[in-house]
């Protein structure tokens, strides 16, 4: 697997806040800023989205009627500096989830936050054995056609 195919989407933003604040707002206060009506499973029936520790941290979306769905599991994190998690909204279990990595880097009085959404082509071992050569992934398909158009 190489970097060009794994780095699907990369976004960088400067936040006029300390890395500690930025990290806390991203995790503890995600319900305050996440555009839940637009991006979520329950949409207008959505109640909230929250990181909860259930045998490891998970990001959970809750509907007003109590239904829940897991968007992803935190793989590893360091407070105020980075967080890596699986990303599979809409499917509570996923053998090949995409992955998000966030980094928080102090930058003057603020913080530069980098988000990478990648791993569309990451295969479970079985799948990889079953079908070699999958590493290129659909992202490349997409890039090919993007460049061609």
């Amino acid at each position: 697997m190489n970097a060009t195919t794994t780095e699907t989407i990369r976004k960088e933003i400067f936040v006029d806040a300390s890395p500690e604040t930025a990290f806390r707002v991203f995790t503890e206060q995600i319900a305050d800023w996440w555009p839940l009506g637009k991006y979520g499973t329950f949409l207008e029936q959505a109640d909230s989205v929250v990181f909860e520790d259930r045998d490891g941290w998970r990001l959970i979306e809750r509907a007003k009627d109590g239904r829940e769905t897991v968007w992803g599991e935190v793989l590893d994190y360091e407070f105020s500096s980075r967080l890596r998690m699986t990303w599979h909204p809409g499917r509570s279990t996923d053998e090949m989830p995409t992955e998000i990595e966030l980094t928080f880097v102090a930058d003057g009085d603020g913080t530069t936050v980098v988000l990478e959404h990648r791993g569309w082509e990451q295969a479970s071992d079985e799948v990889r054995v079953a079908r070699a050569g999958y590493d290129a992934g659909w992202v490349e398909v997409l890039e090919t056609y993007r460049n061609a158009s």
């Binding site: 006029d16 604040t21 659909w138 398909v141």
Partner: protein, 104 residues
Amino acid sequence: MAYAHALQALGDPTRRAVLEELRDGPRAVGEIAERLPVSRPAVSQHLRVLKEAGLVTERQNGTRRLYRVDPDGLAELREYLEGFWEEALANFKAAAEKEEGRKK
């Protein structure tokens, strides 16, 4: 909401594999099935889902039905995700700066 369908369609690894088989050009169901450990009916089913998701188009070529990647569907999906993350991060920035202001 084509992108939502596209995201859902791509959640299945076999379906992604089927899509990838179309990278080099149009193919028939049988050609795809030969290259993957998946039956013809299963390939057909995956192609149908990919087509409904706007990721694949089909056309009749003589007696053969050929499937190809729909570049518009893929571009739309990518643009959607890019735009989504930009919006989410802008919201996050505003929330973090408000929180920081509260502390000062």
